[in-house]
């Protein structure tokens, strides 16, 4: 056992918005739809989610207590795709890629979350458990 590859999470949805509009909603207007109650550090205390629109930009939540990073932008190609280092915590992380393409009624949105590899230390995931989900531990436990 030297390499363990766990399949990526892949999701595809169709939405009414055209790609440019969908891309903007997903990124610039992420606060308007992101389910912060269950999908954040701060839960209902989250006032804003910010995705800075450029390579190297940060993805973070804003609460009364300040800002908390979720990740950073590795690739930025509006309105087609963006790639995030899904960082949450300290250095390193899994990757989340989101792609937008025209398809009736508006766009096909494809999301891939990859990097769930356990045993191969050569992969970039190394160093990464701090990453993973400290922030979601609490909500996962609550739902249990």
């Amino acid at each position: 056992m030297s390499t363990v590859t766990t399949e990526a999470v892949r999701k595809t949805i169709l939405v009414d918005f055209a790609p440019a509009e969908a891309f903007e909603l997903f990124t610039a207007k992420i606060t308007s739809w992101w389910p912060v109650r269950t999908h954040s550090y701060g839960g209902d205390g989250v006032m804003e989610v910010v995705l800075e629109p450029q390579v190297g930009g940060r993805l973070y939540e804003v609460t009364d207590g300040g800002e908390q990073d979720w990740g950073s932008v590795l690739a930025w190609d509006p309105p087609h795709r963006f790639l995030l280092d899904w960082q949450i915590g300290e250095a390193g992380g899994t990757e989340v890629e989101v792609r937008f393409s025209p398809e009736r009624p508006g766009s096909r949105v494809e999301l891939e979350h990859r990097g769930f590899s356990a045993a191969d230390p050569r992969e970039r995931y190394e160093g990464g458990w701090d990453v993973v989900l400290a922030p979601f531990v609490e909500s996962a436990s609550k739902n249990a």
Partner: protein, 102 residues
């Protein structure tokens, strides 16, 4: 308590994450793990028990030694957790990206 909760709790402690990370490089005994960490052997044993109960590591015999190693499918529960995570998030997105008709 569901499986994901157990896994996430097990990895919610920085020492346990360090132990898990060490075992990704190679299987190790309790003594070897304790040498590389600022915690006692009994503490390492305790952390290993939590990781083992969460299905993240297992113990095997190597000659006369007992060594701990990563479970090959250790990250499946986490992957499954994210599967649900994105399903929910994208459903919210799809609703937000809906055009009113009529």
């Amino acid at each position: 308590m569901n499986t994901n909760g157990v896994v996430l709790d097990a990895l919610g402690d920085s020492t346990r994450r360090s132990i898990f990370e060490s075992l990704k490089a190679a299987p190790r005994s309790v003594g070897e793990l304790a040498e590389g960490l600022p915690v006692s052997r009994p503490a390492v044993s305790q952390h290993l028990r939590v990781l083992k109960e969460a299905g993240l590591v297992s113990v095997v015999k190597d000659g006369t030694r007992r060594v701990y190693r990563i479970e090959p499918d250790a990250l499946l529960p986490l992957r499954d957790y994210f599967d649900e995570f994105w399903t929910e998030a994208l459903e919210r997105f799809r609703e937000a990206a809906r055009k009113e008709t009529g």
